[in-house]
Amino acid sequence: MAHADTHSDHHDHKPSGIGRWLFATNHKDIGTMYLLFALVMFFLGGAMALGIRLELFKPGMQFFDPGFYNSLVTSHALVMIFGAVMPAFVGLANWMIPLQIGAPDMALPRMNNYSFWILPFAFTLLLSSFFTAGGGPAGGWTLYPPLSLQAGDSFPLTIFAIHMMGASSIMGAINVIVTILNMRAPGMSLLKLPLFCWTWLITAYLLIAVMPVLAGAVTMLLTDHYFGTSFFNPAGGGDPVMFQHIFWFFGHPEVYILILPAFGIVSEIIPTFSRKPLFGYDAMVYATASIAFLSFIVWAHHMFTVGMPLSGQMFFMMSTMLIAVPTGVKVFNWTTTMWKGSLSFEPPMLFALAFLFLFTIGGFSGLMLAIAPADFQYQDTYFVVAHFHYVLVPGAVFAIMAGVYYWLPKWTGHMYSMSLAKWHFWLSTVSVNVLFFPQHFLGLAGMPRRIPDYSTQFTDWNMVSSVGGFVFGFSQILFAVVVWQCARGGAKATDRVWDADPTGLEWTLPSPAPYHSFETAPEIH
């Protein structure tokens, strides 16, 4: 039926002014806001990281007092995880899922905008705590009690900011699941779904399963602090280690929330620039599901040194090592996809390849950490820092950049500067290794994490790492420049964008993709 409200559906009509963004319901606009927010947070969190590397360039205290250093470490993690990587993935999901499944928009467009706009407010709350008595949150992003309970006025701000981020993530995840399950074009069975959608579907499931657990955990912290409960207080019969269990029941699936969409992006890019279909599509789907399942039963490997029973250590060690199997399936499938392919090395492919090699290094150091008796040595050292930065920076962040370089011409309608993007790639890839690889050595030699000063024998590698950090940090300005230039203009992108002739519904649309796309669902054969 013709209804006044549905009228403008028929035109490629964009709302104008600030209202377009404040009151947005369009998945592309909301996706753009998510991506820009993530970029801002990436630079903010990156600035905090450079502060850390600046302090660690030399032994001794140089620039910050230890309390502020602790705040930098804590906020860097919260900003990068909840402000940069997760919103970037949600932004990509917003842009690409409807285009990849042939849907007119996300299933619940108003809730989509709600889940975005909560984020700037949540981070205002979190970062405003830097200006309260006692400074920003300084107990580490894991918020272990009793340390986290000793914070100043930043404590409730941190807790409530996390509640808001959780609400945002849950709503975003519900939207992704409902969109994928309900809005696919006729004929697109689940096993024809592009892998980016598959990995996001499973990620969204993980989000809905564990974000409420985090909300519960931080609520218990809040009541222990202000309302006299004893969840984590042994005097009343509680146990601080219980917090660690509940936290990591959230935290380990969270780790996969940060990497599964990256797997999806890489699984789109490698086949395109190998000019071959993805090797083992079904195996990729089942491997993703297996990783998600296993993520729920490995959490205590983050806390081998708390004094668990031997049976607990054995169980969590073995279950953790099992994850190497489905992850191995993925790495081998990507490699096999390239085997005898006709490879070309455009920026998205370069980042995807760097992901493949460098993420795998992070995976291997993860296996080392999974060995309970060896972990007693590694726990809380820079080796752990090196490990998770390898999976998160040349892992998750590189995959996001690969995705942006892959789909940017589809979004803007322009090609970007390939040479500048390649400069960005080479500077980033070299410097990220200079930044993080020496941290393995520091950790194995015994340098503890989260401490602003260190013993002089660690000086050389810290200097190397800091130099790498600054080169990496400033190289990212190139990324912003490439994106900015591409949004402003450039050579006209074709519908299929890449000579490699990528497959997928998004490439059947014009570049830039029209404001309203797939109002009539395409048929999939």
């Binding site: 319901t25 709600y114 409530f160 519960g216 009541t223 004893s230 005097a235 019969g237």
Partner: protein, 298 residues
């Protein structure tokens, strides 16, 4: 009104345009959270900001749902939109299940692992000797220092499972039956039965909340059982408290649905909002059964 009953399903998936509610809702949530943070820190003006946040949140719910109900009554939602709402509600309830799982997990961990270790079980003998040699564990407990309303050394009693909690179990289970009767009546077009049994459902819900509140009063004033009564009081009040909050919200949702029924909404075929609320109600019902078993009984 032109469309008292939803018109035949629209052929297109409805994508709404510019909506002020999400940004308004984000602001409301922000004010609520700032108010909460100020309040727990005993800052001046905290309760005022918190109340303002609550009011704005109520305005949000009222306005947003009004918009959606209006669009629905105008018949612009096709079956695809209906299916999205159903899936969205199901996954939301799943997230709620996981929220309660965190607190049930805390209860099980404390009872099965933390307390026996604190009492020196197995390899943890020295933990007990070094920290609280006199502590023998067991359940219920408020810990080795016997924390509670009188500070250290407080004693407390628990609420027996066979009293009001049993009555509350019967109330909630009956309300589960009445909401099902209401659903069958809605599908059979028997509006009279629908109205009566839906009213019975939310009345049962509010009576449950009343009994629960009076039990809390009893616990605080006579039993020495408070939120601060060690691990027992913590798990007891957080689990039953969050459940009670959900029953209250669920009963309000039922009331809204009842008001919509009274003004002629819902058809035997299309009544997502009714079903969504009914699912939610069954969910709080099931959580209660878990509470009754693990918090009151065992």
């Amino acid at each position: 009104m032109a469309h008292a009953h939803p018109a035949p399903a629209a052929d297109k998936y409805y994508v709404p345009h510019a909506s002020p509610w999400p940004i308004f809702g984000s602001l409301a949530l922000f004010i609520l959270m700032v108010g909460a943070a100020l309040t727990v820190d005993h800052a001046s003006g905290g309760p005022m900001v918190l109340s303002a946040g609550f009011v704005l949140l109520l305005v949000l719910f009222f306005g947003w749902f009004r918009t959606v109900i209006g669009e629905n009554q105008a018949g612009i939602y096709n079956l695809g939109v209906d299916r999205s709402f159903r899936m969205g509600m199901s996954w939301f309830i799943f997230s709620e299940v996981m929220f309660f799982a965190a607190f049930f997990g805390a209860l099980f961990y404390a009872r099965q692992l933390a307390l026996p270790w604190l009492a020196g079980e197995g390899a943890k003998h020295m933990t007990n000797v070094m920290l609280w040699g006199h502590f023998e564990g067991g359940w219920p407990t408020n810990g080795p220092m016997q924390l509670g309303p009188k500070g250290e050394g407080s004693t407390f009693e628990t609420i027996p499972a066979l009293g009001v909690p049993l009555l509350n179990t019967l109330l909630l289970l009956s309300s589960g039956v009445t909401v099902t009767i209401a659903h069958h009546a809605l599908r059979a077009g028997k509006r009279g039965v629908l109205k009566a049994s839906l009213a019975a459902t939310f009345i049962l819900g509010f009576v449950f909340v009343y009994f629960q509140a009076s039990e809390y009063h009893h616990a605080y004033t006579e039993l020495g059982l408070t939120l601060g009564t060690g691990i027992y009081g913590s798990t007891f009040f957080m689990l039953t408290g969050f459940h009670g909050l959900h029953v209250t919200i669920g009963a309000i949702m039922l009331l809204v649905i009842w008001l919509r029924v009274m003004s002629g909404h819902f058809t035997p075929e299309r009544h997502f909002a009714f079903e969504g609320v009914a699912w939610y109600w069954h969910f709080v019902d099931v959580v209660w059964l878990g509470l009754y078993l693990f918090v009151y009984w065992l």
